[in-house]
């Protein structure tokens, strides 16, 4: 146990190296340097993908390492997005309003400015007053705090309630799904204070940076996303290594035994659940300014299930697997649904991938679950041979425990 953190986790170094190379290559090829091989919109797609990779790592920690199949992590992602979106929308509208009021014969009072902003923002839902929810929206620092606090607190309260009453396995999955469904249904209402199904829009226009071209902004966000992903990777690699990591994995495989050994299982689970929720919130806060719009459909239960799909296809229980799965499936998905995949002519029927992509995804997902439980990440085991104990059966009796095939080299 004297070996350094890097030595124990060689994948961290490799991952950071790959991420840096990727970031630099994309930057060089982007429109900022004048090469322009990668368009600004594709840089945004890549930046968004990095954010999805970040939440996929969080998902992997909570599911692949701790055995909690959370079907609600996109709710935290969305909350982070809403938190930053509120400030972006407020600040940008404030600039517009102040500019337009500057020509008024009387200098505006503070209240007039705020009222005008509220009318601008909430006009679409037939309101002209700021709900209590927006109390901090004028301040970037406070809203950034909200990005961390709101998902963190929600996860803390929800997790405490759920783990305390020993809700585990599929019940917990369904409960988290119910949570995200309730949240999205609530946000769909016009009087929820977050503009109902209109959501928050125009987030790609950063206040005060109208002069800066989108190509520069997109690269800046791409870098920010890459840095966040790198930091997140290191953080979670640290969390799941060492003694705490062992306890977390033990909980995944046999919760009762860990409890009988004297560990306070609920605290560990709560820590992992809350930490991953916070990281999901941060990923959302980086994602939505690049996407430009956020609405309640983004946090519908289906999004969180897709998150689990990415992690499963990438290979759960290894952090780089989650990154590969998220990047691979989401980029492939946008390639197929974007209509750029060539149609296959079978003679009697032409397969248009926009229509058949979901069928392919669903079937391949079943295939991965049945035949390749290690996912894409399992391919790396072919290169790196590491000593693994000879196990005869599954890892543990718990619902989220590893299967035998997942542990084999």
């Amino acid at each position: 146990m004297n070996r350094s953190f890097i030595a124990r986790n060689p994948s961290v170094l490799w991952f950071l190296l790959a991420l840096s190379v990727f970031t630099i290559v994309v930057t060089v090829l982007s429109e900022v340097t004048g090469v322009g091989l990668i368009s600004t919109s594709f840089v945004k797609t890549l930046g968004k993908t990095l954010c999805l990779c970040l939440i996929a790592i969080a998902m992997d920690v909570v599911w692949g390492y701790c055995g909690i199949l959370s079907l609600g992590h996109f709710a935290f992602f969305g909350l982070g997005g809403y938190a930053i979106g509120m400030w972006l929308m407020y600040a940008r509208t404030e600039l517009i309003v102040v500019e337009s009021l500057a020509n008024a014969p009387l200098p505006p009072t503070d209240k007039e400015v705020v009222d005008a902003i509220a009318t601008q923002i909430f006009g679409v839902v037939g309101s002209s007053e700021f709900p209590l929810l927006w109390a901090f929206s004028h301040s970037l620092a406070l809203q950034l705090l909200m990005v961390v606090l709101v998902p963190g607190l929600l996860a803390l309260v929800f997790g405490w309630l759920a783990f305390r009453s020993r809700v585990t396995g599929v019940y917990l999955s369904i409960l988290t799904q119910a949570m995200t469904l309730a949240l999205s249904l609530y946000l769909f209402q016009n009087d929820s204070g977050l503009r109902g199904n209109n959501g928050l829009s125009g987030l790609q226009n950063l206040p005060g940076l109208d002069a800066v071209p989108q190509s520069v902004i997109s690269i800046a966000f791409f870098w920010a996303s890459a840095v966040a992903l790198g930091l997140g990777y290191v953080l979670f690699a640290w969390v799941v290594s060492g003694k705490m990591g062992s306890v977390i994995r033990a909980i995944r495989d046999n919760e009762s035994r860990v409890r009988f050994l004297g560990y306070h299982v609920e605290s560990y689970k709560l820590f992992v659940f809350t930490l991953t929720a916070i990281v999901a919130g941060i990923a959302g806060a980086l994602y939505y300014p690049q996407a430009g719009i956020i609405n309640p459909a983004e946090i519908a239960p289906i999004a969180s299930i897709y998150l689990a799909v990415w992690v499963a296809i990438g290979g759960r229980g290894r952090l780089y697997g989650a990154v590969i799965g998220a990047a691979f499936v989401s980029l492939l998905s946008s390639w197929f649904t974007g209509g750029s995949a060539p149609a296959i002519n079978l003679g009697f029927y032409t397969i248009n991938w926009t229509d058949w992509w979901l069928v392919l995804l669903g079937v391949s997902f079943v295939a991965v679950t049945l035949f390749f439980p290690k996912g894409i990440g399992g391919l790396f085991d072919l290169i790196v041979l590491k000593p693994v104990a000879d196990r005869q059966g599954d890892y543990g009796p718990d619902k989220g425990a590893w299967r035998k095939e997942e542990g084999e080299p």
Binding site: P107, L161, I305, V309, D355, L358, G362, K399
Partner: protein, 652 residues
Amino acid sequence: MIFRLICCALTLCLALSAARAQDGGAPLQALLQANADAVANPSRSTVDGLLAALLEADLPSVPLFLERWRDRAVYLRASDGLFYFATQAEGGFALTDVDTGADLGRADGTDLTELRPNAGVRRAIGSALVAFQLLDDDPVKRLAALDAIARSPAEDQLEPLRLSIDEEPDPALQARKIRLERLLSARFAATADERIAAIESLKGDLGVDARAVLNLILTTSPAVFTTLPTDRNIAAVLEPGSKALSEAEAYARLVEADLSPPLTGVATIRDALIAAIADGQVAGIPVSTLTTDAAREAAYEALAATGAVPPLVTLEDQAAALTAHQFVLIYAESDPAITAAAEETLEAILFNVGLNQTADLTLDALSLASIYFLAAIGLAITFGVMGVINMAHGEFIMMGAYTGYVVQLFIPDYTLSLIVALPLAFAVTFGAGVAMERLVIRWLYHRPLETLLATFGISIALQQLAKNIFGTQARPLTSPDWLSGTLTFNEVVSISMIRVAIFVLALLFLGLLIYILKRTRLGLEVRAVTQNPGMAASMGINPDRINMLTFGLGSGIAGIAGVAIGLYAKVTSEMGTEYIVQSFMTVVVGGVGNVWGTLAGATLIGFLQKGIEFFNPSNTLAAQTYMILFIILFIQFRPKGIIALKGRAAGD
């Protein structure tokens, strides 16, 4: 030349018809001619005699004449002294005969005099007209007359209505007349006692019109006094700042009644200041300093001191004005005894309506519960009994609904197609379920989380397949005629037949399932395999076969639920997703592992959702949100559901 010829021909025609009118072929015209003066110059004293004569004659053309007469569409032609219906038309007036309604061509306006009965006469005509219609031989016309009275009740209809009650041969119409008479009496009867009696007789009447009549009697209008008057029928004294009357509203009333000057609002101050800007200053104060409301108020007061604007009226002034006045609601009806009786009756009716609404809500909740039960009961078997999470359960519901749709394409008779569709849907989804169990699920027993994800993959693939085959638009699944009606108990309580059918279907399945699980060899084996597969296998039961059949049974029931749900909702490729989370909730809340639990869960969720919707009817989204929050909390306190398995059956 031709024009002249036509004119000549027309004149000839008119002359001929006029001649015919006088020779007895036109009894109404003859009658009118007999009373020509009373018709042409009617007054309140002469009209009654004339109307009596018209009623006496009992001619079919009289009602139309009365109507036209009242509406000032009857004209007297000076040249022949006859009466005509006439309407303004191109080139003068279009004439029609009063007896036959025959078109008599055009006439010059100068030759015609419009009959203009005054208001009193027209009222008398109107009530005679009502009497006519109410005593008509044709029940359809009498019904139409009653409808017309119900639509726009008036004082003068009361008397003819009362007179017609005894004459009415049709008992249903007579009952309607009696009820209508009560409603009219409540508003228009001559004496207060009569009205109070009529009002009190309305107790227990659930009709919307009875409540409308009472509300009309109880109409109030707001008023402001410095001291309360004693001679007015006051409904309520309102306290400003209370829920019924905010301070701003109360003050607005004072301003409207010219009792107080309007409050100098932020906008008023701003406009006044803008108007008074001179050289970048307002009353000597630089404009650039006016960035707070306080500074603006000070500037306005400075302006007011110069007399350029009215003095500042502040919130303190408003409060003082409000305390100096009394805000009341005054009944339009001046007799307190009548309003008191109406209040009391309305209260009794509303209580009764409330009771019936509760009954209606209970029916609605029962029907919703049975829908949830149908959607969830298949899941209760696969998830509850076998412990397999089947995310594709919603898609099995969808498959069942599409099966029903396809069957209707081939069998146009809706009843027959329904009879065919139900077993066929069962067969299709049974097959799909068995195939899924054999190909996917049996490799993943004891790996419920992986089953969840694998079946989710199947779910999105099936959804997209349905979209590719049937398109994205909703497909209709039409119910047969005998299912499309409504079962109506009274004016408030009613339920559509299709919901009754779903309720019956749910009960049927509950019974069937309980029977299969508790009374058959298959059920015994299912329960044995569920509790302990190893032991069951050593007793000679084939667990593989049992698992396959159980899963098929659960899926097959989902298919039948699909047909039932498709009958009242549209069939789309996404209909399954709407039920899947609800269904899981139902099973989890009810208690995993037994059918009674699912029933309890569905009942709880159905009643709860309807209850929340009742308190917040405009917002079903909020209802669902609160519902889910409730379930999350509920599971905190009863993690094993309402009906938890105990002992060995509970497994872990």
